[in-house]
């Protein structure tokens, strides 16, 4: 499964909107098969902050661990956000 983050918006900054995205995506996550890889695609995202990512990426990684792969993460705010979350 590929999650296109830009479908949640291109300026992903607040906690409530991250949380809302996480909740809204639950039905799709429930359909994932046991060993399926989950690709998070950052293509098209212009702004990302740790607040948003912490409400979406953190629980996603907690639930699916190594099955979560991050693609197109070359946007500067995406790089800075991931660096902070990974600390």
């Amino acid at each position: 499964m590929t999650i296109q983050l830009k479908k949640f918006g291109t300026t992903l900054v607040s906690r409530p909107s991250g949380k809302e995205a996480w909740l809204a995506f639950q039905p799709s996550l429930n359909e994932i098969s046991q060993d399926e890889e989950i690709v998070v695609d950052f293509d098209g995202v212009v702004v990302l902050t740790p607040s948003w990512a912490d409400e979406f990426l953190t629980p996603l990684r907690k639930q699916f661990n190594d099955r979560v792969k991050l693609h197109n993460k070359d946007n500067p705010s995406v790089i800075a956000t991931l660096a902070i979350l990974d600390k």
Binding site: T11, S14, R15, V46, V47, P50, S51, T81, I84
Partner: protein
């Protein structure tokens, strides 16, 4: 050069506001034009515009410091997070016209994180005026945010009762991952802000209570200083001249 006359349309672009806003500011005596030509069109002195731009910091600080609670001008006031998100995206779009994607992405992320922090930490607990002051000036490469919230000391004291002053709290907020929203484990917003400022040609002035700090590219240490006038909540001024 200093006293060149600038049309209302161009002035609106420079200040990042609409022509209607400038008309309102004229009526309110906030920024007054000189009338020129047979139809009395509004023109602005360049020196007045420059002066006004320098005042954004002062306006925001004064609002955050004032013992009397009052709402900022509507153009500078985001009472709710939705309004802030909309204005932030507006800022992002305007910045995108004159600067590179890395600048747009990083500056918007910093401003978004600081502004949203204010809402996160004060939701349901605003001492008087809810929401934040948010104003940007593309021309002088500056974004200013402020709130009249509880301030970092009050927020962090819940998880670090030993903190005794705004200076200690400010340092902790910029250097340690700690959340004032225990039991949540988050709390890295200002570390994120710091990581971006010190690796890019940006500057940051940040004050909470009577403690402030200045950060710029290549800074390794956090140097918290005592402010002359204390303010409620937080005040941040971000400069981004370097990366345009």
């Amino acid at each position: 050069m200093q006293n060149k006359l600038i049309s209302i349309g161009k002035t609106a672009k420079i200040l990042g506001v609409s022509i209607d806003t400038l008309r309102r500011w004229d009526l309110a005596g906030r920024l007054q034009p000189t009338r020129s030509g047979p139809r009395g069109h509004r023109f602005y002195l360049q020196s007045d515009i420059e002066q006004f731009l320098q005042d954004i910091d002062a306006i925001a600080k004064q609002w955050a410091q004032s013992p009397q609670a009052f709402e900022p001008k509507s153009e500078m006031y985001c009472q709710t997070r939705d309004v802030f998100q909309a204005r932030l995206e507006q800022f992002q779009s305007k910045l995108g016209r004159i600067s590179s994607l890395p600048t747009v992405s990083l500056i918007t992320a910093i401003a978004g994180e600081i502004g949203n922090n204010s809402f996160d930490h004060n939701l349901g607990n605003w001492p008087d005026i809810p929401g934040i002051f948010f104003f940007f000036d593309i021309r002088s490469r500056k974004v200013v945010l402020a709130d009249r919230g509880q301030g970092i000391l009050t927020t962090l004291k819940r998880v670090r009762p030993e903190l005794s002053g705004a200076d200690e709290a400010l340092k902790v907020a910029f250097t340690e991952t700690i959340s004032g929203r225990y039991p949540e484990t988050r709390g890295n917003g200002l570390k994120f802000v710091r990581s971006i400022i010190i690796t890019n040609p940006f500057t940051l002035y940040f004050q909470t209570g009577d403690a402030y700090l200045n950060l710029k590219e290549y800074d390794k240490d956090i140097n918290v200083q005592q402010a002359e006038v204390s303010l409620k909540g937080c005040f941040a001024s971000i400069g981004f001249e370097g990366l345009i």
